[in-house]
Subunit: 243 residues, 2 copies
């Protein structure tokens, strides 16, 4: 029968979006309805209790904790979760290109399986050199980290950021996904919870609507951004997200 999107279950996928008001970070839980195996994407250290209580109540067994990148604005919850669960049952995940420590280091095309479902890795350097996006098996959803935000994108002025590289990543790895693919970012600062590839291709003021790489580089150069408050604490900790 057709998935109805009810109770966060669409076609056998259990799906929950969670939010950290402090850092405006989104955390995602994806579970396979049948096997109850699940993954969590970008958990925040201060909210691990909330997330694990939800996972328990949903009757899910957490297999992997995925980090889209080494964040500069909050500390990942994957090491705390790892310490809370039976040894060996839960693995932290980050891209090999991030240079960070984790149980599983993924590359372009790597698959992270939970039950009969999987997420596939697309490497999208630009915001950081090690950024990765995770595409759901049926191309219905992509978790874009700070690479592509709702009508925006992550900054490119530190952590080995590079505007030309980000532009190429978005156009080659994300804008090639189906138009109707839902975009779930790592952050939003204006209360928007999701977007779609179609919308971002048309309406992203930096990367869509025919903006060229040159336009994008110029736009990013003009941004005057302050340094994230937590960067000196968060980045070193996040480089050791699984230990």
């Amino acid at each position: 029968s057709c998935g109805q999107g009810s109770a966060g279950v669409v076609n056998g996928l259990i799906f929950r979006q969670l939010f950290d008001k402090e850092s405006s970070t989104f955390t995602y839980i994806l579970g396979d309805e049948l096997s109850r195996e699940a993954v969590i994407i970008d958990p925040v250290d201060t909210l691990v209790e909330r997330d694990l209580s939800f996972i328990g109540e949903l009757g899910l067994e957490l297999k992997f904790g995925l980090n889209t990148h080494a964040h500069a604005d909050h500390v990942t919850g994957t090491s705390l979760i790892r310490n809370r669960l039976p040894p060996g049952s839960f693995k932290s995940v980050i891209s090999a290109s991030s240079g960070a420590k984790a149980d599983v280091k993924v590359k372009q095309g790597s698959k992270i399986h939970f039950g009969n479902r999987f997420l596939q890795v697309r490497l999208t350097p630009g915001h950081t050199a090690g950024c990765a996006c995770f595409v759901l098996d049926d191309d219905s959803r992509v978790f874009t980290g700070d690479t592509l935000l709702v009508r925006g994108c992550g900054r490119t002025d530190f952590q080995e950021g590079d505007s030309s590289t980000l532009y190429k990543s978005v156009h080659e790895q994300l804008f090639t996904l189906p138009d109707q693919c839902s975009v779930f970012p790592a952050h939003d600062y204006r209360g928007r919870t999701s977007s779609s590839i179609r919308e971002e291709k048309r309406f992203n003021p930096r990367l869509g609507g025919g903006k060229t790489e040159k336009d994008f580089v110029a736009i990013m150069k003009e941004l005057k951004l302050s340094t994230p408050k937590l960067i000196d604490v968060a980045v070193p900790k996040n480089m050791a997200c699984g230990v």
Copy 2:
């Protein structure tokens, strides 16, 4: 073909959840994919520009602005939206039992149509005397306002609130919905974006897990809550939400 939940479109329904960090309020946009007619639930006055820009980019035509009740913590956006759209094209909606002014005053069982879809009203007094929940035509989603929150509920100590009445409303009007029905509340203060009837029946610490009406009345009596900062401004304004 089966809805995939992609781009917020499930079985022809366009769906977006939006958040106001200031008051922790959720706003919802629902659209009929074919006709492009849409409704907005509990818009916040300060975020009307964001919401209308989203609606424009999604190619939707806004027909109704629904208020679950006269809020005490923020000012509804329905009158601002009404002033921004062509005269007569958009109507504000609230329950007749709220005593508030609006273009459309709904009762138990009233339907609000957008294209081929509709929301149906269930009256749920208790948090306020005029609270209403809106159930999607296929029972896949319910918008619960402050009547039922994720693992919680609205307060019952002012605005004609009454604990016994709230308990009955939840058990008779909401817990009778299908288990898999998704619950979308008006607020969450811990970054949780949705729940399900099944979960709230089992895990709501006040109303679920076998808690009796007597238990609930005692729990609510014990809460020591401060008065919402905006109540003296918001309630009078919200009592005139459509004018």
